[in-house]
């Protein structure tokens, strides 16, 4: 009996893909997300050295639609023409900005006004800028795990996602790099996914009444 050939590489295959070239971001494939929150654990350990999902840049929530559904969301690293957070920053030059050298969003902690402001978060339609009232009042945003801001992009959430529901990718190869369509709030995503359960949208209460 021949033995099945074992694949090379230590991770699930995704780890062997080449990193994207140019401006890249983390794309969420919501229908694959199981809501396990392992991406959040990877994010918080990378940036804060602790496992705490509420200190994660990527967000995962379980919604009752009314069936339980995990949905994830993180910063889309928007193109300049569509970016909402940077123009909303009251500081000049903006404390939150896209670094054209390292190709990701950066928050300058020394100049950021902190939790009393959060205009960037208000402006962002996906609310991708996060903070924690007690553990980190200073906001944080996805930097593609380039914590030193030297262009070394290696998003840990993508690496560990067990369902391959996160893609580290560029849209430039396709020539249409806008991500307006991916930049949705978790609540909005939940509303849209709930349409799959028509006639059970999540705000309509349901009881199974068997019709004879």
């Amino acid at each position: 009996m021949t033995e099945a050939k074992k694949p090379e590489g230590k991770s699930w295959g995704k780890g062997n893909y080449p990193h994207p070239r140019g401006v890249a971001f983390i794309e969420c494939d919501e229908m694959k997300c199981t809501g396990c929150g392992i991406c959040q654990m990877a994010c918080s350990i990378r940036h804060f050295g602790v496992i705490n999902k509420d200190l994660s840049r990527i967000q995962v929530r379980k919604y009752l639609l009314p069936l339980s559904k995990g949905i994830q969301m993180t910063c889309s690293q928007c193109q300049e023409e569509e970016r909402q957070c940077q123009p909303a920053c009251p500081v000049d030059p903006p404390a939150i900005y896209f670094d054209n050298d390292t190709l990701h969003m950066v928050i300058d902690n020394e100049r950021c006004l902190g939790e009393t402001c959060m205009k960037c978060r208000e402006a962002c339609s996906s609310k991708a800028i996060r903070n924690h009232p007690t553990l980190s009042p200073i906001p944080f945003v996805c930097d593609l795990c380039d914590t030193e801001n030297n262009g070394n992009l290696n998003p840990q959430c993508v690496e560990v996602c067990p369902t391959e529901a996160l893609y580290f990718k560029t849209l430039e190869a396709w020539g249409y790099p806008l991500r307006d369509f991916t930049r949705k709030h978790l609540d909005e995503k939940a509303d849209l996914i709930s349409k799959r359960l028509y006639p059970l949208p999540k705000d309509v209460v349901w009881q199974p009444v068997r019709r004879s």
């Binding site: 694949p7 230590k10 991770s11 699930w12 780890g15 229908m31 199981t34 809501g35 396990c36 929150g37 392992i38 654990m41 990877a42 918080s44 350990i45 050295g49 602790v50 496992i51 705490n52 999902k53 509420d54 200190l55 929530r61 379980k62 919604y63 009752l64 009314p66 069936l67 339980s68 559904k69 995990g70 924690h132 007690t134 553990l135 690496e159 560990v160 067990p162 369902t163 799959r196 359960l197 028509y198 006639p199 059970l200 999540k202 705000d203 209460v205 349901w206 009881q207 199974p208 009444v209 068997r210 019709r211 004879s212």
Partner: protein, 597 residues
């Protein structure tokens, strides 16, 4: 490495107070969840307490591994179904939220509220809030309404444990669910919650779990989450959930068919998980800290109505072909059971028994409130389920109290048709099947006829971790004891050896058994199988026949006590072991009752 501390949130519904207790010393001895709960029940629930009285407690237990190896929450209480100690496990986000709120051994609920309330826990904010607008509502509405309310108030999504009408009406096998499809179904925890006028528990934690060494924990975790071994388990779990066992066991004469009269019937072919998956599987959802997510909810929009839920061995396996139905019918029945909030496994035995009694004219249409309860009739079954939940009419009201009470209503002649062990329905893992069944485990259980009563649960339900999430870890790390040792040492800053883990496991098992012994459990009298297990053989689809011989059973039981459960030949914990494991304090209480070996 500094050791972590352990905190327990104690809520007194009578006094409407709460406080945080340091239980670090107890956690070192027993771990959290079911381990700590033994101590809490022993200390705080007096012997002979009515499980549905104010004196019972409900421990919503978590431990250091909740959220790391799956997300298990173990509810512990004295069972209103058996009168012995009960425990019920539930997955979902709730345990993870409790740990993240910093209560890493869980929430202890005492007393009884004077009116319907729900418990609100948002980190260190703990409130007992009015739930009069939720009381009487079915499960889905309860959870959706409360979730939306709290979302509007805080902007956060809370995890919610709630009961349905069956819990409110003290049906003795009412359950507690979260996210609608995760159920803590065993031994009537929902009735205990209902007896306390507690409709729901809503928790959101943002403070994060305390670990001795976060980096070490993460390295362990990352190895698991990115391992090809984990992927190989996920390929199965994330597609089929736990439906494969139902189909297989019903062909191997290990799942009850027609009130456990048959070993095989063509109805088993209608438990077609492949057809079910292609037709109704909507998406896969998992628990925090689990990479091989195994929840596969279904959604069905049909001329009969709209039905949603999830098939699990425990909520579907024992019904289904036991009341002569297939998966198509079960989508409708399972959805209703989830809404009403009852244990599907207990109902599997009870509804099948009721159909049998009706066929044998031991109960009548009048007893059933006008229901013509024929085998395989979906509408009649749904009508009966609702009557059970609301305790309407003679027969359904009797069924709501479980087998032992129902015997006194239906009479002696009803007993031979019953299929129960310890007063618990036993429709799954048919006790006659010595290959795939659970005859010895069920018969010797001090909890009732369910899985999760052996020594292994002393560690898996105290750490606690999910045995499905740990399946890849069994290949990556090793045995459950070794998984516990490696993870606990990293998470807690301990230096436990495998012998320490074995001792904790044994200590928790003995302690749990002693609690039932204290409440009158007597192995010599109670560890039996139903008469039909000896008198009614079953033959599986492939021609193998199973039945017990009485002498053979007694011999095998003795061996099982000694070899598998580390007890004496009479099923009692040995005195020397109790003393060695620091449980000597139970001896003066148990010994006069003949409970020490």
């Amino acid at each position: 490495m500094a050791e972590i501390s352990f905190k327990l949130l104690e809520v007194d519904l009578t006094q409407r107070t709460s406080r945080v207790l340091d239980v670090t010393e107890d956690a070192k001895k027993y771990l959290g969840a079911r381990g700590l709960a033994n101590k809490l029940i022993w200390d705080q629930v007096p012997q002979g307490t009515d499980p549905l009285s104010e004196g019972n407690i409900l421990h919503v237990g978590v431990g250091p591994l909740t959220g790391l190896v799956g997300s298990k929450t173990i509810l512990s209480f004295m069972s209103p179904l058996t009168g012995w100690v009960g425990r019920s496990a539930v997955s979902g986000d709730i345990g993870d939220q409790i740990v993240r709120a910093s209560y890493n051994t869980g929430i202890l609920i005492k007393g009884k509220a004077d009116k319907p309330v729900y418990l609100y826990v948002y980190d260190d904010r703990v409130e007992i809030r009015d739930a009069s607008h939720l009381w009487g509502e079915w499960k889905q509405k309860t959870e959706v309404v409360l979730s939306d309310e709290l979302n509007q108030e805080t902007g956060e999504i809370f995890s919610i444990l709630s009961i349905g009408p069956a819990g409110e009406n003290l049906v003795r096998y009412a359950n507690i669910t979260t996210e609608f499809i995760h159920s803590a179904s065993k031994w009537g925890c929902g009735a205990v919650m209902g007896s306390k006028n507690l409709k729901a528990i809503a928790v959101r934690g943002t403070l994060g779990a305390e670990y001795a060494n976060h980096a070490k924990v993460w390295n362990l975790f990352k190895e698991y989450a990115t391992s090809p071994v984990t992927m190989s388990f996920k390929l199965h779990d994330s597609r089929w959930g736990r439906t494969t066992s139902i189909a297989a066991l019903s062909r191997y004469a290990a799942e009850g068919i027609k009130n456990s009269h048959l070993g095989y019937h063509e109805i088993a072919e209608q438990s077609d998980l492949h057809a079910h998956e292609i037709k109704y599987h909507i998406w896969t959802v998992g628990c925090p800290g689990c990479a091989n997510a195994c929840k596969v909810p279904f959604f069905k929009n049909s001329p009969n109505g709209v039905f949603a839920g999830e098939f699990r061995h425990d909520n579907t396996g024992g019904l289904n072909q036991n009341i002569m139905m297939g998966f198509e019918e079960m989508t409708e029945i399972s959805a209703l059971i989830d809404e009403l909030g009852m244990d599907g496994e207990e109902l599997g035995g009870l509804v099948a028994w009721a159909m049998d009694l009706y066929e044998h004219k031991i109960i009548t249409k009048d007893d059933l409130g006008g229901i013509d309860l024929q085998w395989g009739d979906v509408q009649a079954t749904c009508d009966l389920l609702k009557k059970i939940a609301y305790k309407e009419d003679r027969a359904p009201a009797a069924l709501a109290e479980g087998f032992r009470h129902a015997y006194s209503i239906f009479g002696k002649e009803s007993e031979f048709l019953a299929w129960e062990v310890h007063g618990c329905a036993s429709p799954t893992y048919d006790v006659r099947n010595k290959d795939r069944g659970n005859g010895l485990a069920f018969a010797t259980s001090h909890n009732g006829a369910r899985m999760g009563s052996g020594i292994g649960s002393g560690i898996t339900e105290a750490a606690p971790f999910c045995i499905f999430a740990s399946m890849p870890l069994n290949r990556i790390i090793g045995s459950n004891e070794e998984i516990a040792r490696v993870y606990l040492n990293a998470a807690c800053g301990w230096d436990l050896t495998i012998d320490d883990i074995t001792d904790i496991s044994l200590r928790n098992y003995y302690f749990n058994r002693c609690l039932s012994l204290r409440e009158g459990y007597n192995p010599a009298k109670d560890d039996y199988l139903p008469p039909r297990a000896f008198d009614e053989p079953i033959t599986d689809k492939y021609g193998t026949t199973w039945v017990w011989d009485r002498n053979e059973f007694e011999e095998e039981k003795k061996k099982y006590y000694v070899n598998s459960l580390k007890l004496t030949e009479t099923g009692l914990p040995p005195r020397g072991e109790l003393e060695r494991l620091g449980l000597g304090f139970v001896i003066p209480v148990i010994e006069p009752m003949g409970g020490i070996g």
